[in-house]
């Protein structure tokens, strides 16, 4: 908690607290370990018993079956396309608007900012039905655009970027202005590179959100070949339970989670650092 020197008893308390946290973390991970274990057991064994954390008897058939299905990799691909494009668009749109709010002066600025913030209080679930009818009218369901477009204008993203840009020293911008930079150059060459931590955080959260979005893809992507992983998994959990067995269900869960877990492990150090720069102000 502090780098200041502590007394002996305080140190002991620190160690005990840390020990408790470690124990809690182990408890935290148990469900995941258990699911991974089950995914590595034969279905016949699982019918008998699901207990235990050692995958024995061991099999990787459950995973083989998945890959063979070809649908799961396809769903992964859709999730990636949707998550990546949504992330990119959210970052672009939010940072552009955030820059304008943070650094430019224009008529109705306060009003527009309030209108933007008010969007925070409009839950997606409150508009998904009209959205559904809109996309139906346009004949745009079962497309990537339908999955991405309604999620691009994110007030919290604009808010975060506005806060971040406000914290950037104004002199930098003025210096750039005297360096003959246009507003766009200032935005692109100065503000954006400076906001990499904030962008990383916003991007990461957008990506996770996009990856895990459930209700909208559930109603918009009705073609099996257009499912995202989340919806696809939900669709086969029932089907698998009927036919393939528990091991396959667990394998599908693990398999579908792997990419995002790996991504997380790569980028995790940015999460806290980025939030610190963006939202902590």
């Amino acid at each position: 908690m502090s780098t200041a020197r502590r007394t002996g008893s305080a140190r002991t308390t620190d160690i005990i607290l840390l020990g408790l946290t470690v124990a809690f973390a182990i408890l935290w991970m148990i469900p995941v370990v258990w699911v991974v274990t089950m995914s590595l057991k034969p279905n016949v064994e699982l019918m008998r018993s699901t207990a235990g954390f050692i995958p024995w008897p061991f099999t990787i058939d459950n995973y083989f079956n998945l890959v063979k299905l070809a649908t799961v990799p396809r769903w992964l691909m859709h999730s990636f396309i949707v998550a990546v494009s949504m992330t990119a668009l959210v970052l672009i749109v939010s940072s552009l608007a955030g820059y304008a709010f943070a650094r430019l002066d224009f008529p109705f600025k306060r009003t527009l900012f309030l209108i933007m913030i008010a969007g925070l209080m409009v839950p997606e679930q409150a508009v998904f039905i009209p959205l559904f009818t809109m996309f139906a009218d346009w004949g745009m369901h079962n497309t990537h655009a339908a999955l991405v477009a309604p999620r691009v204008a994110v007030p919290i993203g604009v808010f975060l970027m506005t806060q971040f840009f406000r914290a950037v020293p104004r002199e930098l911008e003025e210096a750039a202005e005297l360096d003959h930079a246009s507003y766009f150059t200032i935005f692109w060459r100065i503000m954006l590179p400076l906001s990499v931590p904030a962008l990383t955080t916003l991007g990461l959260f957008t990506f996770i959100f996009a990856w895990n979005d459930f209700l909208w893809p559930l109603v918009s992507a009705t073609k099996a070949e257009m499912f995202t992983v989340t919806v696809g998994l939900a669709s086969i959990q029932g089907n698998f339970a009927f036919s393939e067995g528990l091991g396959s269900v667990m394998a599908s869960a693990v398999f579908a989670s792997l990419p995002i877990v790996i991504l997380f492990l790569i980028f995790q150090r940015f999460i806290v650092a980025g939030v610190a720069m963006g939202a902590g102000k």
Binding site: M1, Q125, F205, W211, V219, Q268, V272
Partner: protein, 295 residues
């Protein structure tokens, strides 16, 4: 003192150009649907088959007498009441516990954050399995104790807490990260000064840490309220609203009414209710937060 004066460079043309993408998308995919949703809610409007009839506020009258609707409101509020304080508290405790330097703490941070990256399908699958009275993780434990396995997800009183538990496990990462960020910005000198003042661990927390991060606390609570009000996936996938509608949430009811029963008009009326409810709560929160600031 340089730059302190003006609020920004006056450049309306550029500013509107920069704002255009956001507000265009915002208008088309948020503002317009909100009004369209209200419009739909004034109709008997069927999902398939194109039946539409203007009926004024009849849907809202129906809502008023719809027991299941009030039940789902109650359930949703209950869920919010269960998750928001516990989530905030747990996130804060975990953040305090894993804040700091060192490899071990970095690993712990990852562990607690990691469950946030799983999709709702995976989370509910995991927890449905863990809590299953038939094949669940705890069954061997119950058997060893000679107790009949507790059927969490079908228990009238335990079902909702079970969903809340899964939600907690799933969602604590983000608020924890926010708290960690805030903790990182508390000036170290404050702690050092407190140390010299012989402040106890508890009073350091209460007198220094908490006041320093209270903006983040407010942010977390507001975000949590907004997020938890919209609960759908967990209840839909873990209990399907059961047992006896004890876990049926508002969004689930909206979904069922619209997509199972095709009553899109009625569902839209509920969606408007959800909007008003959340809007009210967010306003209340912000107002309370501001009041706290003035004091």
């Amino acid at each position: 003192m340089s730059g302190g004066g003006s609020p920004g460079r006056r450049a309306p043309g550029t500013a509107f150009l920069f704002l255009a993408p956001f507000f265009a998308i915002y208008a088309v995919f948020l503002v317009y649907p909100l009004f369209k949703g209200f419009w739909i809610s004034l109709h008997d409007w069927e999902l398939a088959g194109g039946y539409r009839e203007y009926i004024g506020f009849l849907n809202y009258q129906d809502l008023w007498t719809d027991k299941l609707f009030w039940r789902t409101i109650r359930n949703t509020l209950l869920f919010v009441a269960m998750t928001v304080p516990t989530m905030t508290l747990l996130a804060l405790m975990l953040a305090l516990a894993v804040h700091g330097t060192g490899r071990l703490k970095a690993i712990l941070r990852s562990v607690f954050f990691m469950s946030s990256v799983f999709s709702v399908t995976v989370v509910t699958l995991v927890w449905s399995m863990v809590l299953s009275a038939d094949q669940g993780l705890l069954v061997p434990l119950w058997n060893a104790l000679g107790i009949k396995p507790v059927n969490f997800l079908a228990h009238p009183l335990l079902a909702m807490p079970s969903i809340a538990l899964a939600t907690l496990w799933w969602g604590v990462g983000l608020p924890m990260a926010l708290f960690l960020a805030a903790l990182g910005q508390v000036p170290q000198e404050l702690y050092e000064a407190a140390e010299l003042d012989h402040a106890s661990r508890w009073s350091v927390l209460r007198r220094i840490t908490l006041p320093s991060i209270r903006h983040t606390l407010l942010l977390v609570v507001v975000l949590q309220i907004i997020g938890q009000f919209q609960i759908f996936g967990q209840a839909q996938l873990m209990t399907q609203g059961g047992p006896a509608n004890r876990t049926r949430t508002l969004v689930q009811y909206i979904y069922d009414t619209g997509f199972r029963d095709w009553q899109v008009g009625y569902a839209s009326a509920m969606a408007m209710a959800l909007f008003l409810l959340m809007f009210g709560f967010s306003m209340l929160q912000l107002w309370l937060g501001r009041k706290g600031d003035d004091a």
